[in-house]
């Protein structure tokens, strides 16, 4: 069963990790974007990451996509701290130096659209760590994120250093699903006899 879908965006796509991607992951993790992030010593360690990505998605704790542009793997989109019941999660895009901000933004946007539709996610957080590219913050603003808090020394760098985390949030306008009895709020709930208009039917109305 697949829990992480392949999603297309202009110029590329995001797709789930597989055990055939160990070389790609190795390449990404040898050029870490996050301040203080250590490099794995053996490629086989990354097989655990693939396994982890499947388990995280299956249990709605996180999701990982590989980010491809023109057939080249240039990064990853990560979902973590996923509070599915609270309709919120945190995201980050980790990319190689050649990943453009345009593709980074498009990939992030595609993943957010999916999460909003599939899981009704309303509250998206993004943590920018002091030392990362400044243009990432511009990208977040372009997408509608707002800086809500600067967490001092919340990111550990090496054995004794720390960096600030700037936490951005985007609240989408999607209405929260309302809890109710069967048929209330025009919610089909588990009523399989109730017609649910398809996207095409909605558009033609």
């Amino acid at each position: 069963m697949k829990f992480t879908p392949e999603l297309e965006f202009e110029g590329g796509k995001v797709r789930p990790l597989t055990l055939d991607d160990l070389d790609h992951l190795w390449n990404i993790y040898q050029q870490p974007e996050l301040p203080g992030q250590s490099k794995p010593k053996e490629k086989e360690q990354l097989a655990r990451l693939v396994d982890y990505s499947i388990k995280m998605a299956a249990t709605q704790r996180g999701m990982m996509w590989l980010l491809e542009v023109d057939g080249q793997v240039l990064g990853m989109v990560n979902v973590y701290d996923w509070q599915a019941s609270l309709l919120r999660l945190t995201m980050r895009v980790d990319g190689l130096p050649e990943l453009s901000i345009k593709h980074r933004q498009a990939a992030l946007s595609a993943c957010m659209d999916f999460l909003a539709k599939k899981y009704h996610t309303r509250n998206f957080a993004y943590q920018w760590i002091d030392g990362q590219k400044e243009e990432i913050k511009t990208m977040l603003t372009n997408l509608g994120f707002e800086l809500r808090a600067t967490l001092r020394d919340a990111w550990r760098v090496g054995n004794s250093g720390f960096a600030n985390i700037e936490q951005y949030h985007l609240l989408n306008n999607q209405e929260k699903p309302k809890a109710g009895r069967l048929g209330e709020f025009d919610n089909p709930a588990q009523n399989i006899n109730k017609d649910v208009p398809t996207e095409t039917q909605k558009e033609t109305k």
Binding site: N123, A149, L151, R152, D153, Q167
Partner: protein
Amino acid sequence: MNWNFIAGDYLLRLPVADSDRTILQTLLQVPEVSAHIPRLPMYFEAQVDDEFRQMVQRFDAREAAFWMVENSEDKLVARISIQHINWLQRSAYIQWELSDEIDLDGLSVVVSAIKDFCFKNLGLHRLEMRLRPDFQRHIQLLEALGFEYEGCLPEQLEFQNENIDLAVWSVLAK
């Protein structure tokens, strides 16, 4: 490591399941005590049982620690905890539930001892408190205790049909 210690006139000790049920419920059944977190008051025995189970499991997992704070008359005046301990990032959340019988002077002594314990004994670097932003008493206490305001995170949870924002305050090891 000894997790129980004395701070001025106060004893900070880990809870004991058999004997602390009633006194903890007496503190936590007052709605104002947990409203800043926010959390439902503890009205029923089943809630107390669940709370003790969670305190024990989370302490065993070294993910949290809960201290019962008693004054010189052996009366429970607060429960203070550290939670979400992140040993990698060397940070934790601190949370307090206070009775009216502990004032700023008393809390200063107690929180100072907890900070010392966390920063020196546990090797943590950052303690942060997340709470509803509109609780002036707690904000005044945080400011007086040297915590700094870092911002307010929107819609962190839903409580009684209301989306709850949480303000973040923190104190760092020097």
